[in-house]
């Protein structure tokens, strides 16, 4: 039964999209129902997998592998075998669960809209792409799924977005399209280089990682590793919206429908971090180490810069975008540290930021649905008409600014524990982000939910029953990780340990 679960998870949404294609356009409510099923089943399966996951193992589990494409003479006289191979390890598992959760809740959070059928078709295609990115064990497959997210995103922003949707959709498309170039170049270069060592070419991540791990120094030169890592890192900077390549993210968040903002902030932009961990740290640890200072500096710049910019944003969604950038800067710092604490903190922060972004964008979407705006100055005193939403918004903001007992804190402190071990000075500058986060989030909260309620905001309705589901689930998870971080830590611990031992040796 476990045999094909991963395939099911990846392709059920796509199947849903296909089925949706045959639903008559006029059918009301049906698209959402189908989308719900098509995202709920993967969620269910993901949790079944989680239940059966053996976190004491550091390798891939539930693997499915089939040879898919053979390319003769791809490298010297060797045949390149591209596999359709899926698998989960401790690193992928949290991302899988995150994806399952956010995408399902995203559907739940979607309000009725124009052209709902198409919306959900594109949405489900996007979901398949996202699952694929985290489950693919083959670099080619990964790339394929990564590209697969581009097209639906273009339409999701372009059709259902805000007043600058066309421009922003294009920006998203081309920016990330360019990022995938770097990813592809580095992937294939890695595969070919690994072939020099092993004698067979494959794009399987695990075998490449092993090849790199045991390669003698002269077989794969340091220069090569450094060069490839730079290319990859550049792509990651774009994928993950790091300064100075971050400008697509605020625009995307500002212009996307709130469901899509949830998915972008919650899952899509985390792909970059996943690549950084999986490929950067997993395959090229020496290069990460070599460029550690650069990475750390970029990380700290992101933390501080994005926080400062967030401080003066007028729109909640842009503020949250910059907030996410700032948080992901912490991930870079943690990765640059290249020690157990830093890496674990990085993963924690990625997942935490995903959950928090999902929640925050959901809430802001709910506020927007009621008030028609996300401009901070146009809101005020929301605690009165909608105490529950305001309460959850506060909880999310607090989680985001790193309140202990919620996921943000443990992530932050782990990352800084790593960071201070390696880069005390830079990390000290980075802690400014902790203060600034409090400033911009509380300031925005103060102006949004506190203070006197303006007349036009009176009498707005509070959260509906269905809206409790995402809110409660998100908050519960955020608190769960905050209170009992082992639930996440045990998953990733072994994988990270295996990375760290490789750096040591």
């Amino acid at each position: 039964m476990m045999g094909n679960l991963l395939t099911l998870i990846v392709f059920l949404p796509l199947l849903g999209a296909l089925i949706l294609g045959f639903v008559p356009r006029s059918a009301n409510g049906q698209p959402k129902a189908i989308a719900l099923i098509a995202t709920f089943l993967p969620l269910l399966f993901a949790f079944i997998l989680y239940g059966n996951f053996d976190s004491a193992q550091s390798g891939m589990q539930f693997s499915e592998s089939k040879e898919w494409i053979h390319i003769a003479h791809a490298f010297q006289d060797k045949e390149l075998v591209i596999g359709y191979s899926l698998g989960v390890d401790g690193l992928a598992m949290p991302f899988l669960l995150l994806t399952a959760l956010v995408t399902f809740l995203g559907v739940l959070a979607t309000k009725s809209m124009q052209r709902a059928k198409e919306f959900f078709i594109w949405y489900l295609i996007l979901v398949t792409g996202l699952y694929g990115c985290f489950l693919a064990q083959d670099l080619f497959l990964f790339f394929l799924f990564l590209e697969m997210t581009l097209v639906p995103m273009y339409f999701l922003i372009g059709i259902w977005g805000g007043d600058r949707k066309g421009q922003v959709a294009t920006k998203f498309l081309i920016y990330r399209g360019l990022a995938s170039v770097g990813i592809l170049v580095s992937f294939v270069a890695l595969a070919f280089k690994a072939a020099v060592v092993t004698g067979t070419i494959t794009m399987d991540m695990t075998s490449i990682a092993q090849a790199f791990a045991k390669a003698p120094a002269d077989a794969i030169t340091a220069g090569f590793k450094h060069g490839i890592f730079l290319v990859l890192f550049l792509a990651i900077l774009i994928e993950e919206a790091f300064f100075p390549f971050h400008t697509w993210l605020p625009d995307t968040h500002e212009q996307s429908p709130s469901t899509i903002s949830m998915v972008v902030g919650g899952v899509l932009m985390k792909i970059g971090a996943y690549v950084l961990f999986r490929i950067g740290v997993g395959i090229l640890p020496d290069a990460v180490k070599y460029y550690a200072t650069v990475i750390a500096v970029i990380g700290v710049i992101n933390i501080v810069y994005a926080a400062l910019v967030a401080m003066v944003q007028k729109d909640w969604r842009r503020l949250l975008a910059f907030s996410a950038i700032s948080h992901m800067g912490v991930v870079l710092l943690g990765v640059a540290a290249m020690n157990q604490e830093g890496l674990q903190g990085g993963i924690f922060m990625t997942i935490s930021s995903g959950l928090l972004s999902g929640l925050l964008f959901f809430l802001i979407g709910a506020v927007r649905e009621r008030t028609g705006t996300t401009i901070i100055n146009a809101l005020g005193g929301l605690s009165k008409p909608m105490p529950v939403l305001a309460g959850f918004l506060l909880a999310a903001a607090l989680g985001s600014l790193g309140l202990p007992g919620m996921s943000g804190f443990i992530s932050e402190i782990l990352a800084f524990m790593g960071g201070f071990a390696a880069f005390p000075g830079l990390s000290a500058v980075g802690t400014l982000g902790i203060i600034f986060a409090a400033v911009y989030l509380l300031w925005a909260m103060q102006r949004t939910t506190y203070g006197p309620t303006t007349a036009q905001l009176e009498g707005l309705s509070d959260a509906r029953a269905i809206e409790y589901v995402p809110m409660v689930v998100f908050v519960a998870l955020i608190i769960l990780i905050g209170v009992y971080p082992s639930i996440l830590g045990d998953l990733v611990n072994h994988t990270i340990s295996s990375y760290v031992t490789r750096i040591g040796g």
Partner: protein, 510 residues
């Protein structure tokens, strides 16, 4: 030896053995020509394209037969099957291209059936056999090893094409397009010939196979003149396949020609050009390629960049596709260009596989796109992007098909275009020309802008056509689209079959 010393005698059986597809097409062409004289105008109009397709299918089948012949010969360890002292050869390189040409032309003729209905001025029989002759020219370009023969084949294709472009002779744009094509084309021919003359001058041979060894000996002594000859030929051929900066005729000619002819130019003619380039440069220059590949790299890079950038602001869909096809020529040049750095024999097989795979993918997606375009622009009455506005409402089938073709051209995964690009990309990494591979995909990313512009028109905007009437798709066009669709998706999802096929080929007879 007697007085006929040195004269090779050709028997029909030899000819048939080697040139059966070409011969069947020539015969077919003449048959249609003759039948046209005896038949009523109406029945000729109706029958000619069908006949043409029939002959093309026959040629296709015969080409498949040739694969067997080559395989048998290779298994027996025989020399390359050839005519007239390697003037004309039978190998899988040629066969593959012949399949491409016959299939491509057949699809073009299929599309033409609809074209004839709406362009009564076009003379169907002439059109049909010109297509067949043009295909023969293309086949010769793929199979000849002799400069003279290659040149004749090239001109057979070119001259037929000029006429085909001008076929809508009451259509000012058609004749203008033909004129531009002809002027640039013949200047290019002259350039290529000028280059060939130098090549001939040094080697004393018009035969590539024999000239190559002479060339290797004389390379150092005569490098300037040989490189000059090579480059002049490159310029000449570059015009034919529309490499930047020799591409400017293409948008105008593509726009002027009727849709089937345009797709013929974009697919068959371009593929033939690449067959020619590969034949000449692989056979003539393979051993000195390290010295000259850099010019191909320059052209490939230029073509990818300029082709894609120029398309960004293009609103006319046919011109857009023209620029797109220019850009694709850039991609197609890469496999050959990378050979300069990785000159092992495996690399040659890889490069050939890449080129052919991409051409096949390109065939499916381009044909499909032109078929959709034909219907859509006709209904809208113009050829701008506006014609596609809200297509998803008017015809979901056309909308989805066009989306698939466009995404394939843009190089999105699970389409033939993506696999093709990836395949080509492998070569650049293989030879450590990372930047070129990067450029390949970077320009594709830039190209998203205009490809998605098409998709935007289809899906994002509402129809501007007053009547939201459904578009009726004629059967022949429908079949064309379906072929394109299936090909694009199958090659995208399961390229392995094609890869295996390519891998099993005896490219040059061995």
């Amino acid at each position: 030896m007697n007085a006929m010393n040195g004269l090779t005698q050709l028997h029909f059986s030899d000819l048939w053995h080697v040139m059966a597809p070409e011969m069947i097409l020539v015969i077919g062409g003449f048959l249609i020509l003759v039948l046209d004289l005896f038949m009523s105008k109406e029945s000729s109009r109706r029958l000619s394209p069908q006949l043409g397709i029939l002959f093309l299918i026959a040629a296709f089948v015969l080409t498949i037969r040739n694969f067997g012949i080559v395989a048998d010969n290779a298994a027996a360890g025989g020399d390359m099957i050839n005519l007239s002292n390697m003037l004309y050869v039978l190998d899988d390189f040629g066969n593959v291209f012949k399949l491409l040409f016959t299939a491509g032309t057949a699809v073009v003729l299929l599309m033409s059936i609809d074209f004839f209905k709406h362009n009564l001025e076009v003379k169907v029989a002439e059109y049909t056999y010109l297509m067949l002759f043009a295909t023969v020219g293309a086949m010769v370009m793929a199979s000849a090893l002799d400069l003279i023969t290659l040149f004749v084949g090239l001109e057979l294709l070119s001259i037929s094409s000029y006429v085909l472009v001008a076929m809508r002779r009451n259509h000012a744009k058609s004749t203008e397009g033909a004129m531009k094509y002809l002027v640039i084309g013949s200047v290019a021919s002259a350039m290529a010939l000028y280059g060939m003359s130098f090549l001939y001058g040094v080697t004393g041979q018009t035969n590539l196979a024999m000239g190559a060894s002479t060339m290797l000996q004389l390379w150092d002594q005569f490098k300037p003149v040989l490189v000059l000859g090579f480059l002049l030929m490159l310029v000449g051929f570059g015009v034919k396949v529309a490499l930047v900066p020799f591409h400017q005729w293409a948008p105008d000619t593509y726009e002027g020609a009727g849709n089937p002819v345009t797709s013929f130019l974009a697919v068959v003619s371009k593929a033939a050009g690449f067959a020619l380039i590969l034949r000449v440069f692989l056979w003539g220059f393979s051993r000195v390629f390290g010295d000259i590949y850099i010019y191909l790299v320059i052209l490939a890079a230029l073509t990818m960049v300029i082709g894609n950038v120029a398309a960004l602001t293009q609103k006319n869909i046919k011109r857009l596709l023209a620029y797109s096809s220019v850009a694709q020529a850039g991609y197609l040049l890469i496999p050959l260009a990378t050979l300069g750095k990785g000159s092992s024999i495996d690399n040659i097989w890889l490069s050939l596989g890449q080129t052919v795979f991409y051409l096949v993918a390109y065939l499916f997606m381009t044909m499909g796109a032109f078929a959709v375009l034909t219907v859509v622009t006709r209904q809208a009455g113009n050829e701008t992007l506006e014609a596609f506005r809200g297509l998803w409402r008017r015809s979901p089938f056309l909308a989805v098909s066009m989306a698939v073709f466009t995404l394939s051209m843009a190089g999105m995964p699970l389409t033939a275009g993506f696999v093709g690009k990836f395949y080509i990309f492998l070569g650049t990494i293989n030879t450590e020309m990372y930047w070129l591979g990067g450029l390949l995909f970077a320009t594709s990313a830039i190209a998203f802008y205009y490809y998605f512009g098409v998709l935007k028109a289809i899906f994002l905007k509402d129809s501007s056509v007053e009547t939201h009437e459904k578009i009726q798709v004629p059967a022949s066009i429908g079949v064309t689209i379906a072929i394109g669709l299936i090909g694009t998706i199958v090659l995208g999802v399961y390229p392995d079959a094609m890869m295996k096929l390519l891998n099993g080929l005896h490219w040059f007879g061995q």
